[in-house]
Point group: C2
Chain length 321, copies 2
Amino acid sequence: MIKSSQTKIVDCTIRDGGLVNNWDFSVEFVQQLYAGLNEAGVDYMEIGYKNSPKLLKGADQAGPWRFLDDDFLKEVIPHKGKTKLSALVDIGRVDEDDILPREESLLDLIRVACYIKDVDKALALVQTFHDRGYETTLNIMALSNVMENELLEAFELIKESVVDVVYIVDSYGSLDHKDIEYLVNKFKTHLPNKRLGVHTHNNMQLAFSNTLVAADLGVELLDASVYGMGRAAGNCPTELLVTHLKGTKYELRPVLDIIERFMIPLREKEEWGYIIPYMITGTLDEHPRSAMALRASEDKDKVVDFYDKLTTPEVTFDKKK
Amino acid sequence: MIKSSQTKIVDCTIRDGGLVNNWDFSVEFVQQLYAGLNEAGVDYMEIGYKNSPKLLKGADQAGPWRFLDDDFLKEVIPHKGKTKLSALVDIGRVDEDDILPREESLLDLIRVACYIKDVDKALALVQTFHDRGYETTLNIMALSNVMENELLEAFELIKESVVDVVYIVDSYGSLDHKDIEYLVNKFKTHLPNKRLGVHTHNNMQLAFSNTLVAADLGVELLDASVYGMGRAAGNCPTELLVTHLKGTKYELRPVLDIIERFMIPLREKEEWGYIIPYMITGTLDEHPRSAMALRASEDKDKVVDFYDKLTTPEVTFDKKK
């Protein structure tokens, strides 16, 4: 139903999926995924973070996709196909000096993630990357917890900036189709000169449908990951987008091949997807960190206790005492 | 977002979930589920099929919920709560003489499932059950494979019938929000005197969102099952509906309790949900039986071969030969 002439898929399997397995993907896995996404016609592959290991604790334990090195990337992808390459950076964790001019890098797109209060800092980074020749996006996280006045202030800054695409990010997987419709219309009204993107989470099994609703409303960049791999409840599955977008250049078969060879075995070792504690944080519009801690504990299936803890005011804050 | 004053949840865990485990639910399980749904404020529990064992092969191997007996039901539910009880019958598999007058039965609602060609036969059954005092629904299956002219003919019969609620059934899990919108508007236009219901499947992770979209458009009876348990990809999860419908009388906690005590252990033994072969039959708008056969075989994860078989014309029908 949705015409895909304008829509583009950004596969985040390595970047967002790395949050599940600490970026422990082999070079072969990443190469095969890149080949498969190319064959499937996926537009972008986000191959990791471009943060600086100097600015992050525990950096030495993570796989190389957490701190992409341009020379290493050229070894991994010696022959670039049609699928463009993307990297994400976080405010305060990226060293601008690590970002080469685009003509010296395999990367095409640099995306800057931030919370609403840091939009100004994010846009300064966007300007730098834009000046070095990259396509850029601004990914405003946790929109469900942002007040109207903050959002309107941010729009003023964004409107005047050079950023190409502005993302609606449902960080907690708490939005439904009505919320997406509301946000897309708001962004379109206030940012008529910007293209839009969407990044969803699957806490309430709404990641794919919310992405379709956004695409229907004219959102162009659609984030996804193969088999939905991503932190906690995971993302919109790439396989569903490639098969369902109509008038399409996309092919399902190469994505099924990646799922069969890599993702089904990987899912047996690592956990993500629709799991009740993530549903609970989604419906409560909260960060999934409490649910991730529960899933790492012996009580991982004690979902009623977990729900009670999140919905009962702390005894230590009981004002009757 | 969706006002639930009109909407009612019909939990189908036992009836549709029974298609997964051949209705091998213990009496205790069914009693605890009924208690939980009552506490959660769920409006209906579909406690099984009211087909006749005389009219079905292999009847002696199935659990009692496949052929509900009214006396047995009174032992299972000695104290009825607010949650009404429902049973489904199939055309040609029900013996009308098995259906007691409503005042002698615990059942409140009898639903008749049929394909489009049998709408006349289904409505004759509906009339019988209506005359015996029951609420009735007509559940037209496989709507995605029905031509417009067949549907319009069926509407003429339905409009004149006594049936209370007409269901839109996405048997193959192939519909998206645009399709649901199209069907609901068509049903509303042609059946202005009937209430509507919706029954979705989760092959493309759209069961919950399609149900929400339908509710938004005024569909009143929403089918669901706890933890999504149902044939193949399963159904819209009851836990998501009870937590997400707004202005609501529903409670999430009792459903979480059922999930923790019964559904998580059960899911370790039985399989349903978003599994790639079911996604493939969903996107191809086909019955899941080929995918169910694959999942029961040693090749259950050979998804590329499976996709190739379903999308390549049979060699025996190759006209070039």
